[in-house]
Amino acid sequence: MLDNKQGCKSLGTKEIRIAGFGGQGVVLSGLILGQAASIYDDGFSALTQSYGPEARGGSCTAEVVISDEPIGYPYVQSPNVLIILSQEAYNKYSQDLPAGALMIIDPDLVKPEPSQNPAPLSIPATRMARDMGRTVVANIIILGFLAAVSDLISPEALKNSVLASVPKGTEEFNTKAFELGYNYGLEHGRKGEVADG
């Protein structure tokens, strides 16, 4: 059944938008999420992404729709979760958020409006990744954080999907990154807030 308040979004469908710059692992994060939902959690998911030169340096977006039934409309209409990794993306996507939407930001990259209610959840993932020695795992840290603060996807599915998607030989390092984010989420996040979208 369509949720008329939300245009053409089916009830029971969750939408995630990840937005930032090309090179931050935005598209890979979307792929890991979508794969986790449809293969490791055995549901349905569709990933679409921004395409072209912007995916290689400019603004970049990945959109994942997750559902327990086949997905009709594959694009994000009213996101349940936003992961925002640049000020530009914040300015573009922070308006008109649906009630109950969860926003996750990297506070070193995004300065949210003080008036934003509820305030976004923060994880300094880029800095944490740099401290680990490799900035490229910032996206994996954020996925670990997401697993801790939301019930969208099971942490096991997400972790399995990470391991299936990263280069061979980097599994241990990526597991460490994922767990770092996960533990940060347990400590600082608010688990369960987006369970019902």
Partner: protein, 383 residues
């Protein structure tokens, strides 16, 4: 990975990649192409995969040459494919006709983007549906399949090869950017050789073989160039030997057969899916990506008490005209959402022949319909 190099398992992949994997599973071992958004990933995947399965990938200088190269590869005995979009599809049209004239099995994938001309290269459309039918010159019939998901483009690429080999005709996979660039779960089964069709080979002596003498089903057995049987190709009107004959009679005999081998076998070729049509008063007739949003709209119409159904065209060419004629006796109206300004709706209207009304829901391209837009049209259609 099995020994033949075909993938097997459950994957999260986009439609372009799934298309390439369908081709590999179908036994395609030759790809010639020229990159173009949003079809590039098909070629990219084929360039990675073919060397591992003993196949050949050639990056050509343009789409004209790409189409020619796959015809030549097919004559040499390989299952061959190319992929393109928009402007490249236009360039392939002349030699698509050569493929029809020379009864050459091959598959042409069009990941449609919005036109005319360069249009919106990174965005979806269904604007080439009539070009698929009529894009090359002369009288001919073609087969065109339209997938609605990465899973279905995998499945239908195999079907495309099978139909192409069965009927010795180029087969078009008319997908679009939305399906091509969307990633979803794709289950790749172990394809057994029994599920794959290969062109019928001559079984008589080399001396008796006539390369264009058809069997009862109007399809001639096909020899491989260089294996010893007579082999002759020309785009000119030709006789059963393949030699040019410039007469009205030869033209009549040849063109009639090229067309009839598809028309008279359409029951074997045409594929569609029906959803809730038994008691329907209005039917959404849709194809490709549009069927996904149409399905939501039909469900919602049912919830609102409207007896709505859907006819999902899987082959758009040849057109499911007999089924539309039957349904036109039953329903008040057909609603036809298309990401163009009215193409397949003309076919629906022709077959409805005034028995049911026809309502186009156009989209100029660059995205897909909102289910609410289709729902609104369903409500209008039953008023």
């Amino acid at each position: 990975m099995p020994e033949d190099g075909a993938l097997c398992g459950t994957f999260f992949m986009n439609g372009d990649v799934a298309c390439a994997e369908g081709a590999i599973s179908a036994g395609c071992r030759f790809f010639a192409g020229y990159p173009i958004t949003p079809a590039t990933e098909v070629a990219e995947r084929m360039s990675e995969r073919l060397p591992h399965v003993g196949g050949i990938y050639i990056q050509m200088e343009d789409e004209i040459a790409s189409m020619n190269a796959i015809l030549g590869a097919s004559w040499a005995g390989l299952k061959a494919m190319t992929s393109t979009s928009g402007p490249g599809f236009s360039l392939m049209m002349e030699n698509l006709g050569l493929g029809v004239m020379l009864e050459t099995p091959c598959v042409l994938v069009n990941i449609q983007r919005a036109g005319p001309s360069t249009g919106l290269p990174t965005m979806a459309a269904q604007g080439d549906m009539m070009q698929a039918r009529w894009g090359s010159h002369g009288s001919y019939e073609i087969i065109a399949l339209v997938p609605s998901s990465p899973q279905e483009i995998f499945d239908l690429t195999i079907t495309a090869f099978n139909l192409s080999e069965r009927y010795r005709v180029p087969v078009l996979v008319m997908s679009d950017e939305a399906v091509g660039h969307m990633s979803e779960k794709v289950v790749i089964p172990r394809i057994s050789p029994k599920e794959l069709v290969s062109r019928r080979r001559p079984d008589g002596t080399q001396e008796q073989y006539l390369p264009y003498k058809a069997d009862e089903d109007l399809v001639p057995p096909m020899a491989i160039a260089g294996e010893g049987y007579r082999f002759h190709v020309t785009g000119l009107t030709h006789d059963e030997r393949g030699y040019p004959v410039m007469t009205v009679e030869a033209q009549d005999q040849l063109v009639r057969r090229l067309v009839d081998k598809i028309r008279l076998n359409k029951k074997d070729i045409i594929r569609y899916e029906e959803v809730g049509v038994e008691d329907a008063e209005v039917i959404v007739c849709a194809y490709g990506i549009s069927t996904r949003v149409a399905r939501l709209a039909v469900q919602e119409a049912r919830n609102a008490g409207i007896r709505a159904g859907m006819l999902r065209l899987i082959t758009v060419w040849p057109f499911a005209e007999d089924r539309i004629r039957e349904l036109a006796q039953q329903v008040k109206a057909f609603v036809v959402p298309e990401i163009n300004y009215g193409q397949i709706v003309l076919e629906v209207e022709r077959c409805a022949a005034g028995k049911a009304s026809t309502l186009l829901v156009p989209h100029m391209g660059g995205g897909v319909h909102h289910p609410q837009t289709i729902l609104k049209a369903i409500k209008e259609a039953v008023q």
